[in-house]
């Protein structure tokens, strides 16, 4: 049973990663910096619980603030460039953060052992959960509380004025600007919210794996972050969740019996999915059909 709880933890954290890119993608920007914010959240909150002995929720909060702050700081200069230039700029930022942690040493003696991040070796012994007697189930619940909360907030955004503004900027920047929307404010705020979500996700990730190193935040992670919303479709937050379950649950765990061939299939399936469904698995027409289907069986409203 613990295996499934573990899988649920992975799906939860990856959903947060995907949602952090989802809100930025809504404004029509493609960002490959999410792995960087994820790394910042992970390192900051892990250092707070391990080195400073903070409780987990406070540490996660500070990690979130750091993620949001970094995203806001990146947002201003990076958003001067548009479209594909932004992809490359954010990719370089993400790699820059990874390289920073690759060269980052800060160790403190705690009892017999020295703890803290050591450059290439990474940061071991992030043992907050085992030290406080949390079971796998407790950790899973803890992670999913955050996932559900954030999904609810994003779902509510979609029904509010702010969500409409985000989508307006994503559909047509010039039209949005000409009805008086402040493009910079919208894009930087979306980037900041995305950074905050990635920061929480990173903090949770650091604590359930108990070991982080620079290579856990490479381009592959950044690619996953944008792959989830794009593969799942941008029509709704549930697209991201569906894509995470499809990728982590089916492609990675479900196809484990294929051994090495699974990795080959992964890239090929992404190529195939984009050829067959260029607007994502759960695109707007499909969601509409699902909605009608639901009403048919739910007695009709």
């Amino acid at each position: 049973m613990d295996f499934y709880f573990g899988l649920a933890q992975i799906i939860g954290v990856h959903t947060l990663l995907g949602l952090s890119a989802y809100i930025v993608l809504l404004t029509g920007q493609v960002t490959l910096a999410q792995a960087g914010f994820f790394a910042i959240g992970a390192y900051v909150s892990a250092m707070l619980t391990v080195l400073a002995g903070w409780p987990i929720v406070a540490a996660l909060g500070v990690g979130t603030l750091f993620g949001a702050g970094a995203a806001c700081a990146v947002g201003f200069p990076a958003l001067r460039v548009k479209g594909l230039m932004l992809v490359i700029a954010t990719l370089a930022f993400g790699e820059g953060v990874r390289l920073f942690f690759f060269n980052f040493d800060y160790q403190v003696a705690k009892g017999q052992v020295k703890v803290g991040p050591v450059g290439g070796e990474g940061f071991r012994q992030i043992r907050y959960f085992p030290e406080h007697g949390w079971t796998t189930f407790d950790v899973m619940l803890f992670i999913w509380v955050f996932v559900v909360l954030i999904m609810a907030v994003l779902w509510w955004f979609d029904r509010s004025r702010y969500g409409a503004v985000l989508r307006a900027v994503g559909e047509d920047e010039i039209a949005a600007q000409s009805v008086g929307i402040n493009l910079t404010a919208v894009k930087v705020s979306a980037m900041t919210i995305g950074g905050a979500i990635a920061g929480i996700g990173g903090g949770l990730y650091a604590h359930y794996t108990t070991h982080i190193e620079h290579s856990s935040f490479n381009i592959l992670v950044a690619t996953f972050a944008i792959a989830y919303p794009i593969v799942g479709g941008l029509a709704s937050v549930f697209g991201t969740l569906a894509a995470v379950v499809f990728v982590q649950g089916f492609l990675i765990e479900g196809l484990r019996f294929l051994g090495d061939w699974r990795n080959l299939l992964f890239g090929a399936l992404i190529v195939l999915a984009m050829n067959v469904r260029p607007r994502g698995l759960l695109d707007a027409p499909t969601l509409g059909r699902l909605g009608r289907f639901g009403r048919l069986f739910g007695g009709g409203r």
Partner: protein, 292 residues
Amino acid sequence: MLDLLQAVLDGLLFGTTYALIGIGFTLVFGVMHKLNMSYAAASVGGAYCGLLIMGLVQGAPPWTVFLAACLAGGVLGYLVYLTCFHFIPLASPLATLMSTVGMLLLIDEIIVHVTDGMPKNFPTMLDDEMLRVGEITLRGDLLLVFGVSVVCMAGLLALLYRTRLGLATRAVSQQPVAAQLCGIRVAQVNAATFVVTGLLGGIAGALIGASVGALSPLLTTPLTVKGLIVTVIGGLGSIPGAIIAGLLVGAFENLFQQFRGVTERDLYVMLLLFAFLVFRPGGLFAPKGGRD
């Protein structure tokens, strides 16, 4: 001072490979206004195929590996076009971005699968030759890299500015609709662009293999990042920009490797990119009236 000059010269020579990779990214962007993220991976893949083909022919001279890699790169380029661009509507830029990322992962994994993740020795040429100019030493293999790259770039420019295919390519990159009205088959030109960039990529992959002395799947990610950085610094869609930016990044990187060590050098390349994004967001040679 001498160390500094030596580091910059070595970097400049190796930078020509970055320039080739950057040209590949920039050419596809210029023609289709799309990013082909799998380009660097396909280039390394082409070099691997070159090794594979050379292994089949007994006693082939080492330079044939370049020819084989070039041809394999061209074939790979066409395959990438077919799987990632041909069937996806132009109106969904995210879909092609994602499909090429999928292709990057696929090519990477195929390489790891076929070679069991071990680096493969690549035939080196002119390895022991040195050219001494006063106190400065120029490595023979780097000079070879430089020479071959310059020949390739000259060939590409001749193709673009002296042939009918080149004329069609430039027409499509300026105004796809007008080009189509003049009777140019846009899909064919797009496919040809992918084949041409693939041929270049195969040579670039082989050159990198020859100067490093080995090919490894670990090369693809740094090459992708460097190639994209070169593209941005040079200005998206500008070939002279990509050449100059490639040399610049090569020299800059080698300089910092000399003084700050290999683990930190890429950090400074990122800083260089950010300096460009802040002070000159369009790159060195920003094409006028970009339709991004």
